[in-house]
Point group: D2
Amino acid sequence: MLPTTESAIGETPALIVVDAQDSESETDHPMRSDCGSIPGGREAIVDRINTVVEHARDADVPIVWGKELHRTDFADYGSELESCEPEHGAYGSAAERLDADLVVDEADLPPAEYVVEKRRYNFFHRTDIEHILSTYDVDTVILVGFMTNICVHYTAHGAHERDYAFRVVEEGTGAPTDRLHEIGLECIRYLQPRGLRNVEAVTEALDDYAGNPVVQRVKEEGKVTQETGAVPPTLAGKRPAETE
Amino acid sequence: MLPTTESAIGETPALIVVDAQDSESETDHPMRSDCGSIPGGREAIVDRINTVVEHARDADVPIVWGKELHRTDFADYGSELESCEPEHGAYGSAAERLDADLVVDEADLPPAEYVVEKRRYNFFHRTDIEHILSTYDVDTVILVGFMTNICVHYTAHGAHERDYAFRVVEEGTGAPTDRLHEIGLECIRYLQPRGLRNVEAVTEALDDYAGNPVVQRVKEEGKVTQETGAVPPTLAGKRPAETE
Amino acid sequence: MLPTTESAIGETPALIVVDAQDSESETDHPMRSDCGSIPGGREAIVDRINTVVEHARDADVPIVWGKELHRTDFADYGSELESCEPEHGAYGSAAERLDADLVVDEADLPPAEYVVEKRRYNFFHRTDIEHILSTYDVDTVILVGFMTNICVHYTAHGAHERDYAFRVVEEGTGAPTDRLHEIGLECIRYLQPRGLRNVEAVTEALDDYAGNPVVQRVKEEGKVTQETGAVPPTLAGKRPAETE
Amino acid sequence: MLPTTESAIGETPALIVVDAQDSESETDHPMRSDCGSIPGGREAIVDRINTVVEHARDADVPIVWGKELHRTDFADYGSELESCEPEHGAYGSAAERLDADLVVDEADLPPAEYVVEKRRYNFFHRTDIEHILSTYDVDTVILVGFMTNICVHYTAHGAHERDYAFRVVEEGTGAPTDRLHEIGLECIRYLQPRGLRNVEAVTEALDDYAGNPVVQRVKEEGKVTQETGAVPPTLAGKRPAETE
């Protein structure tokens, strides 16, 4: 879909919460950053993520909760072994859970909310997220979470090269240092200058949004469509006369 | 987009002409099949492709002309070297041109028509076709061309797994033997029973189609949008105040 | 890697067990097929899968256990709603478990064995399997499981178009009818004539295989490499001091 | 392949020359940057690219010459319309040619050198480059070209997330401003600290390299393999006895 709007949430948004995972400790770590970049640190950012989530939920916007996770033998780690990051995201560690302060219960997700696991920074890389976005006709992804310069930035890029618009919520993301946060924002702004917004602009636009009709169907009927089940299986040599 | 229609062309179709390339001779060859499967052979199929093309063109539907081509040193051939097919699609051979009997002049393509080169059977694999489909908001690909069981079938599958609907025009495709043609049709019918149609059903639905508005813009103005050029580059530390 | 061998397992194989999931009942169903195509039915096939697994395990070959699973609201179902198949693979159903007769305990996987979930027929589509194959330098995937014409066939095609060789174990796969089984085998044979083998040929070649050195490291040390953790951020003589 | 070396060129390198395309004028432009970031500007960088190319060519390393190009009606432009960049890379403009000062004749490419067109910043996105890299068993891409923070950086990231190592030649790339160049280098260094090298280190390692055996075969015999042509097509119901 060609870009058609300057709206703070695009035409048909989804919200992606990037790597807001739990941590073993409060120490500085790429995946459990103390977000020195943001006054109030990680806690303040999680508060803002919660604000955006609540507006998105009320506005009937689909929500994807993302986690970067890795097998403990590093079989899926690949070039991340070449990264400057320490080991992170192991199954069995605290990272397997979403941050306890988020307004969501993973064991009982609200309708039209999903957990998606990823292996690399970019949420679009070798995950099933595009199936979900396609179901909801999404043209724009709203991004919050960690870290500005890595998973948020490369997910914005992953959206960009697949012809989605994005809206990064500037105060809803952070990085361990001011400099890394600022580099992330500059890269994001270069990709889509309209793609960097603040909490106020995004929540106001969400409040004005008519709601995603497929989300509304899921909330009412429990399914994205009632037309499930098999199309008549005209197999084994039968002519497809009934398809005309 | 969830499937929403039983129409013979879907909601927003594009036409893909698969591997209707020229050949050195009339001999039987996977890429220059004599299409024993179809009474009248390749010539009859090309006639039908032309019919579908003309209706699609009149209906303001985007058209992609596909070619499978390979570098002459086989550097991009990979696992095709393991295939049962003989060498095919070399740059510099007749395969570099579209079939001379097609109603198109490659050197002067009509508006909203494109040539896309591919390396594997599946048109969606490592090509830029999805950028074009996204520009025109396409949800359904109409497929004609060669061969039923290989490039048409695996392109239908490539569309299927990316959540497009497809409509294969049954008499607009062929294979070297009846058996291969029939196997192709059975695979296609399994994937999407609604996805196998005939020329009459497809051309009638094209005649009733309101036309793709982006195609209409390209025909009138020469571009998919006039809003090209840079969004103001708010780089190098400037705050994105103008984005709110 | 260019094809270099006619060996029944390639140079550096991995074994993929496709969709051998548990079922609610014994009724005929694409995902819990009774495999009319094979004398002895599904049970006989599972026995043969177990044979291949045991030889692969002894030969230090990495093993991927695959499951096709879908969210119960169909948010990831997309074009499968257009398929001739009934609803299948729901989380919370029996399909969430591997077949109980397989020689594996999912809760306690042996070293260098992995469970990978997929959403479409083709195991390579939007999953992390290529990260695992890359870690083990795999050039050839050995395929067993269900069904011949769908998930086994389209996974073979997914491997093919990504330049892997494949080896489908003919009696280690099945389909609901003889005809579907035979169509699957013919498609597979067309893609890579060397890619269709029998249990005896594959297990003999596995018995002769020297073993994957990374599998051997995982069995001994628990990890694919001991060189994990951050690469010191010091390259080309320079320290990137400005990033701290 | 797991990272196994600190070598300035990896184990099995390919050289990718990113977007070193011709320009209409010398004005500052994302695609025809005057590279204010580098003393001597674009001309000095092209000289260094030529140096790296000549060492790679002598060392029997495959070379890919990349061009970002777009259809003049913007049908493949997608989210780039949301970028801060002005229109760029149109077919029919000077950008269709490689920079005239490069040591290559596009119309008569040396053996094992290729032109690949791309539509987005990241060279790995929807192009056929991975087929070529696979043919030559490449584990590491050496990157030179334009611009540091965009196409070089996002190609490095595209390599990274597909489990290739990369080596960016620091003085062989540039950007319109010092700041953009520096941001690009910082992002690159974060991804793979071992991935940022200088001309001297890379050319010395190339001089010591034994050469890619497939490149050597192409130089001697004109093809990546002589084993082309069809594997016996055991189709249409025949048993694959000969494959055992």
